[in-house]
């Protein structure tokens, strides 16, 4: 035992020395530059935040944002298209360097990840225009479609747990399938991020409306591994710069037609 702890303390001493020597350097950013690419995970079922263009390539607000990060880091970006339910596991397994996919900042997620805010979005109800859901109480008796493992899903589950008589909750793997379910009358209402809800309505403006607000604006951010402190600091700085130099505003105007809160 003594022997082991002796070795251990020497190792710890060495590690702490090495650590302090490295503190000035930027191990994660160096590794990205060495790899020659910045790998970013997205779930492309969330238009206009993340979607695909006519050729099937990733496209959307977050895609442009990630390209901007990569450009400022001085390396090309490589997108990894992931299913939302596996997107955090992939980051932990170091399959990519960042998740840039409209992730809400929640206490549970902050235990696992560093999340840096770049925008605030609210959650809204999307319904057929003849059967609007204006407020939470209107969800009673309705079948609600959401994307699984999202803030909206947690919100609906909590409302049901608190005694609201929701007829059913359908959790789809893809946000776009929640829209398909609504249009196929497999659900009465969708709860989803405002930009996505607005985009859904644009697909079928004759029949669908954003009928009410479920949750007031909440921050969304890009997620990084907790051990990538240098990258976190750099990204925080880049976002501040983008707000100052007008890049952020330009992206909002391009994808939402206006500046969305915060």
């Amino acid at each position: 035992m003594r022997m082991v702890s002796g070795f251990l303390s020497i190792f710890l001493l060495w590690a702490s020395l090495a650590g302090s020597a490295m503190a000035a350097a930027a191990p994660t950013i160096d590794a990205i530059k060495k790899a020659g690419k910045f790998r970013v995970a997205i779930d492309v079922t969330y238009p206009p935040m993340e979607t695909t263009d006519a050729k099937g390539n990733p496209d959307g607000f977050d895609i442009d944002l990630a390209k901007e990060f990569a450009q400022r880091l001085g390396v090309p970006v490589e997108f990894v298209v992931m299913s939302w339910d596996g997107i955090i596991a992939g980051l932990m397994a170091k399959r990519y360097d960042m998740i840039c996919s409209a992730m809400n900042i929640t206490p549970e997620r902050l235990k696992q990840l560093d999340i840096i805010e770049y925008m605030q979005v609210s959650q809204v109800f999307v319904t057929p225009n003849d059967k609007p859901v204006v407020k939470e109480a209107d969800l009673a008796g309705k079948v609600v479609a959401v994307q699984v493992d999202t803030t909206s899903a947690a919100y609906v589950e909590k409302a049901k747990k608190n005694g609201l008589a929701i007829a059913g909750i359908k959790g789809f793997k893809m946000a776009t399938d929640a829209l398909s379910a609504l249009r196929a009358k497999q659900a009465d209402v969708i709860v989803i991020d405002e930009p996505v809800g607005l985009y859904f309505v644009k697909q079928d403006p004759k029949h669908l409306i954003v009928s009410g607000r479920a949750i007031a604006p909440e921050p969304i951010g890009v997620a990084l591994r907790k051990d990538a402190k240098d990258l976190s600091a750099e990204v925080t700085q880049m976002i501040a710069n983008m707000r100052r130099d007008g890049t952020m505003k330009k992206l909002h105007l391009k994808w939402f037609g206006k500046e969305v809160g915060g």
Binding site: A89, E108, K173, A181, A184
Partner: protein
Amino acid sequence: MDESQSFWQFSLQEVLPQLFDGMTLTVELTIAAGVLGMFLGLLLAFARLSRHRFLRWPVMAYVTLFRGTPLLLQILFIYFALPPLADIRLDAMPAGILALSLNAGAYLAEIFRAGIESIDRGQMEAARALGMSHGLAMTRIILPQAVKRMIPPVVNELAALAKDTSLVSVIALSEMLYVTQRLGAKYFRPWEVYGWAALGYLLIVWSLATLAGRIERRLAVRGV
């Protein structure tokens, strides 16, 4: 969430209760689609073996369609495309059972046909010569022998079906894999979560194989 939970604590408190619910649904789907699929497959096989062209051709078209397109596509089509197309709105469970049954029926039809055709033609001719009707010869002479030969491929198909039920997770049916992925996304403890799910599927398929083994032995004892 408490990361300090031990393997057994975590498994017993978080994983297994939810996984059990998912497994119940998986078993229900497997049994429902298995029974319906076999019934459908048998009808299709007889139609396929018929002398009448107008019975044979639709079956061939059916098998081509359901074997030639992905099951996932069939599930999505029935759930999302039928309502706007034909105003048929099935809930997730019936939609899932329907898709799985229709798909399994196509494969099972071919297994049944092969089984029946594998019995020497001379036996049917001999039975008819002895004065048996076609139907009687089929049920008394041909099918008992064919069934024994068909058991292994049918079990193969049912094992595949049991695992294919995981595809209905796309229409938000909380079968075993759906529950597993939810747990995986929530707790970040992949090996416990996926490990238990693997055991769950193994248990289902192993039970099927054991049951089939019993039936095979019983048929052997009766000497058919």
